[in-house]
């Protein structure tokens, strides 16, 4: 079970969180024209990376905040966690 540092609550066990996928995906702006291809990429296409990866988790059974987690998908090492509003560096 992973040990995730919630930027709001501190170190917590994985079972308090739920996984939210790739954190680098940006939702297209509302009301803007977008090609079918770009929309499809946003909705469906995700890389399945091995290695360092920024992903979203929600501290569901805690502060309910969505957070950004930089994790190695192979080793499960977590390098950094950020609040929702903090930019991935």
């Amino acid at each position: 079970m992973l040990h995730i540092k919630c930027p709001h609550c501190g170190m917590r066990s994985q079972n308090e969180f739920s996984y939210g996928g790739d954190a680098s995906v940006k939702r297209p702006e509302l009301g803007k024209d977008i090609s079918d291809q770009d929309w499809n990429n946003f909705v469906y296409n995700r890389k399945s990376l091995r290695g360092k990866h920024w992903e979203l988790w929600q501290h569901l059974a805690g502060c309910r905040q969505w957070i950004k987690v930089e994790r190695d998908t192979g080793s499960h090492e977590i390098f950094k966690t950020l609040k929702a509003e903090e930019e991935i560096s």
Partner: protein, 998 residues
């Protein structure tokens, strides 16, 4: 029966406490402190079971966790448990155990015929033999295998024992209380670290209990006892025996199973039987020791062949002789220690040493005691069927290929030592890449991925002095990292006998003309010949060889067999062992009971049950409940002998003619506040929300980004910046997360807060033509007329002194209201509604009637909004705003979603107006078409229309828009039904929606 193999005055057992127990129905005696194994051996019982595949007789091979044979079915306090190792089970008064794998009995076992048929049962025999002919599988092979195989019987009774889970954090977890565990725990604890020391046996000390050493002028055992009692007194230390750390998971989380009560005849009141510990440790020291490995020779599975260290442990710990005429077969000095112990207890052993001329302190001691030793000698084969009677032995050439003349010597046990294999399971599970240590012919841990370090024998260090030095140092260093303290403990003086190097010999060649089975894996009956076949058939990867032959796949996970298996593969393949590699070590290290894994989450505890504040009223009024997620909801209220069908029809009918009340507390509720709340709703819902006035509710549909309907419900504007959203019962949690996602990550600029208020409100839906009359009586001071509270209106009211929210919304399609009060007042509200409603013939109605009402009205719900449908499919396209963007809108222009013949919800009526239509049935054009018959759609929900008194269903049907009036067939192969039906509008009752506005 007397304990004829029990030694006088030796061992750590309590001879003042005699215990009686039964094995296979026969009564025996042992002592407190015995294991089931030691007590059986003391009584001369050596036949304990039959092997898995060939049903060969099985005795004891080890004395602990490595035991591959002695697996029994245990009976304790009216319960039974399979897969118990007799070597690990502590004896208690009244214990009962039975052999497994024997049918009809351990002495006459019909499956042993496999032993004589074994040429038909080589490696991969399951894959080959039983594949053909196919028809034989169900009738002959499968029942035979079922009857003959298995490692015991699981109880089918409810387990009344209690199991617990515990979460713990510590600075340092130490797995194993042998010399390295004790030394490191002591050094770390004295340096201020919070330490957990775990030992899987009941006694602390590991090898110190059986080795002849001296630490600080004390015997090994005295030193261990001293350390343990000091540790137990320290507030920063938790010392746990009977606790096996069996799994090493990510981020230094380890799981340990504590056998709290298994050693007692009965679990004490308020105690669990077992406790599972989830331990998050900053640092881990693995001091799991090593396991002696066997040397492979003919018939090496005969009862009486066992590990030499086990023989020594039975003598020194339990005061039990494993034989009175022992043969010791060794390639290293460990066998001599066992021989010396035999000699001290008045028994004359014979040592066969594979080495030609070994020399060491230990060997000299044995020689001084006049122990008989034959150098360059091997055991070729054990003789005897149910117990070793003699051994064929021979001289072996220097190159270990040629056997000399075979001699037969009488013996009643063969104690084998093929040197030591470090227990690296936990280290390997942690992600540690192991390396092969040539000096000890075994794998040891290499680089740690996590904060762990392996010490002592588990790290391939076999001298006590070096082990203790390393371990004191490691305990100090690791604790210093955490506490920054510098309190060192002094290193004690260590006296131990020096040993000479071992011989890398592990397998005795077959003599000419003999075809003895030479076993590698004793639990799964994998022999040398099986591995040879696997390799001949082209299996190369050790992982494939393992699966094809089942080497190391039994419940002992190959603790005694893995390395010899690798040696064999490397020899045949002409590779070095590290090039062959080893298979993956996976948790658990030892079997863990299902009870411990499940913990307290059994029965209704597996998920908390949620009840509405009106639950007790429902109970008192004969409600029959149904699980709705974790909620319990009344399905119907039973009157007299009514069944579900009759009751729900009565309840639904009463809503259509008078008035009914339904508990809707379970609906998800989300409180939304903030200046941008309307903007949020406008983006989340498909319809327009910016102009909803205060005091008005609106129905809305929300989509996922892929255009699929996520949920629906009404949201009411309570005040300027305050909205009350309702969701379906099932989607409540998902919708909240969904809103939080967009607010926190996508549109953080929106100034809105959302919070679940499901528990804060009790809800009652009042529905039916007389509902307004009832409402007037409930709220005499409020104007609830059609003008005062129009359809989709909202007001606050005073319900006999209780503040209430009144929504004019309808799910049933009738004139209806929903009243919410604070949960505390829920029951009060409900009772008032029933009491006042009596004059209007009110009846409570359950979820079944609720379904009937919504289905015949054509209101879509969970069975249509099933994660596969878009708004159009549910005839909700009228709610799609063309003027604004919203979540999922862009997906709705996908080609498949705008196809002319896109599926759509329709109504379905059987032509005979009688036959009920099973939910999930398919709709087809031609009932006689050859299969696969093209499916046009499926029945999503069915009811008995109370309005028309005939069956009615909703269906999602291809080109549903143009199918109204068509005649199709409903096919249900499951229910074996073919029903001719007519497709009608989904709005079967009141298609214009006049009632809700009346």
């Amino acid at each position: 029966m007397t304990q004829s193999f029990r030694l006088k005055d030796v061992g750590l057992i309590n001879r003042n406490k005699k215990l009686s127990f039964k094995f296979n129905g026969k009564k025996y005696y042992g002592y407190e402190g015995d294991s089931l194994a030691s007590a059986l051996i003391a009584n001369g019982v050596h036949l304990i079971g039959r092997s898995f595949k060939y049903h060969r007789p099985r005795g004891f091979f080890g004395a602990g966790v490595d035991e591959p044979y002695a697996i029994v079915q245990l009976y304790r306090n009216g319960e039974t448990e399979p897969n118990i190792k007799a070597t690990e089970q502590e004896l208690f008064d009244g214990l009962e155990a039975k052999s497994v794998n024997c049918w009809p009995s351990v002495n006459f076992d019909i499956g042993a015929i496999n032993n004589f048929l074994r040429i038909f049962l080589p490696a991969g025999f399951y894959y080959k033999t039983f594949m053909w002919p196919k028809s034989f599988w169900y009738k002959i092979y499968e029942p035979f295998i079922r009857k003959a195989a298995g490692l015991g019987t699981a109880s089918i009774k409810h387990d009344k024992e209690r199991y617990e889970h515990k979460y713990e954090y510590c600075d340092l977890l130490i797995a194993g209380s042998g010399p390295s565990g004790l030394a490191s725990a002591y050094a770390a604890a004295k340096n201020g670290a919070r330490v957990i020391l775990a030992e899987d046996k009941s006694r602390f000390g590991g090898t110190l209990l059986t080795s002849e050493v001296n630490i600080g002028n004390k015997s090994g055992k005295e030193w261990a006892d001293g350390i343990i009692s000091e540790l137990k007194e320290m507030p920063n230390v938790t010392v746990k025996n009977r606790s096996q750390v069996f799994g090493y998971y990510d981020h230094n989380m380890l799981v340990m199973s504590e056998r709290v009560s298994d050693h007692l005849p009965k679990t004490k009141e308020f105690h669990p039987k077992q406790r599972l510990w989830y331990i998050r440790a900053k640092e881990v020291l693995i001091s799991s020791g090593s396991i002696e490995r066997p040397i492979v020779f003919g018939n090496n599975d005969t009862p009486g062949v066992m590990l030499s260290s086990a023989a020594k442990e039975y003598m020194k710990v339990y005061g039990v002789l494993v034989g009175k005429n022992p043969l010791i077969f060794t390639n290293n000095d460990s066998g001599y220690e066992t021989a010396i112990e035999f000699k001290k207890n008045g028994v004359d052993p014979l040592i066969l040493d594979t080495r030609s001329n070994p020399n060491s302190e230990i060997i000299n001691e044995a020689k001084d005691l006049n122990v008989k030793i034959k150098n360059s000698y091997v055991v070729v084969a054990a003789q005897g069927y149910k117990k070793v009677k003699s051994a064929d032995i021979a001289k072996i050439s220097e190159d270990k290929e040629q056997l000399g003349t075979i001699e037969n010597v009488k013996c009643d046990c063969i104690c084998v030592s093929g040197f030591w294999t470090p227990t690296i399971h936990l280290a390997s599970q942690s992600g540690n890449k192991t390396k092969f240590n040539e000096e000890i012919d075994a794998f040891v841990p290499r680089k740690s991925k996590q904060n762990e370090k392996t010490l002592g024998a588990a790290n391939g260090i076999y001298t006590l002095e070096e082990t203790l030095k390393d371990s004191f140092e490691a305990g100090h260093e690791v604790s210093k990292k955490i506490t920054n303290n510098e309190n060192r403990v002094s290193f004690p003086n260590v006296v131990e006998k020096k040993s000479s190097i071992h011989d890398k010999f592990w397998c005795v060649p077959l003599p000419k003309g003999k075809n003895y089975k030479r076993f590698l894996d004793f639990q799964n009956d994998v022999a040398v010949s099986d591995i040879e076949i696997a390799l001949r058939e082209g299996y190369r990867s050790i992982e494939h060889v393992k699966r094809y032959t089942t080497l190391g796949m039994a419940t002992d996970q190959g603790k005694t067999s893995n390395l010899n298996g690798l040696q064999l593969v490397s020899k045949i393949e002409n590779k070095v062992v590290p090039a062959v590699g080893h298979t993956t070590f996976r948790p658990p290290y030892t079997p863990v009971s299902i009870g411990a894994i499940v913990g307290r989450e059994v029965g209704k505890h597996s998920k908390p049950t949620r009840k509405s504040p009106m639950h007790s009223w429902h109970e008192k009024n004969n409600a029959v409940f149904v699980d709705a997620g974790v909620w319990l909801r009344p399905r119907y209220y039973k009157r007299g002998n009514e069944d579900l069908f009759e009751a729900s029809k009565r309840e639904a009918k009463n809503v259509r003619t008078n008035v009914g009340v339904c508990d809707v507390t379970t609906l998800g509720k989300i409180d939304i506040k903030g200046p941008d709340a309307a903007e949020l709703l406008n983006r989340v819902y498909t319809n327009a929300w910016l102009k909803l006035p205060v005091g008005k509710a609106r129905y809305g549909v929300m989509l996922r980004e892929d255009g699929i309907v996520m949920d629906d419900g009404t949201t009411t504007r309570i005040s300027e910046n305050h909205y009350h959203m309702t969701t379906t019962t099932a989607q409540a949690a998902n919708v909240l997360s969904h809103l939080e996602y967009y607010l926190q990550l996508v549109w953080p600029e929106l100034n809105v807060n959302v919070v679940s208020s499901t528990e804060q409100w009790a809800g009652a839906a009042i529905a039916g033509p007389k509902s307004r009359n009832l409402l007037q009586k409930l709220f005499p001071n409020s104007d609830v007329s059609n003008e005062g509270l129009p359809f989709m209106g909202y007001m606050e009211g005073d319900l006999f002194g209780v503040k209430a929210r009144i929504f004019r919304i309808s799910f049933s399609g009738e004139l209806a209201y929903e009243v919410n009060v604070e949960s505390n007042n829920g029951n009060f509200m409900w009772e008032k509604i029933i009491e006042v409603g009596e004059q209007f013939k009110i009846q409570p109605y359950g979820t079944e009637a609720l379904s009937t009402l919504r289905i015949e009205m054509g209101h879509v719900a969970g069975s249509e909004l099933d994660g596969r449908t878009i708004p159009y499919d549910n005839s909700l396209e009228g709610l799609l705003s063309k003027k604004k963007d919203f979540i999922g809108k862009r997906s709705l222009s996908r080609k498949a979603f705008i196809a002319e013949d896109r599926q759509k919800v329709v109504g379905v009526v059987p032509l005979d107006k009688k036959t009920s239509i099973p939910e999930g049935s398919h709709l087809v054009k031609d009932s006689k078409a050859p299969s696969p018959n093209p499916k046009l759609g499926y029945i999503s929900a069915s009811c008995w229309s109370v309005e028309y008194d005939n069956p009615f269903s909703l269906a999602i049907l291809k080109d549903g828009k143009n199918m109204i009036g068509e005649k199709l067939f409903v096919m249900s192969p499951l229910k074996n039904k073919i029903i001719p039906v007519e497709i009608v509008s989904s709005h079967y009752v009141d298609p214009k929606g006049e009632r809700v506005r009346s």
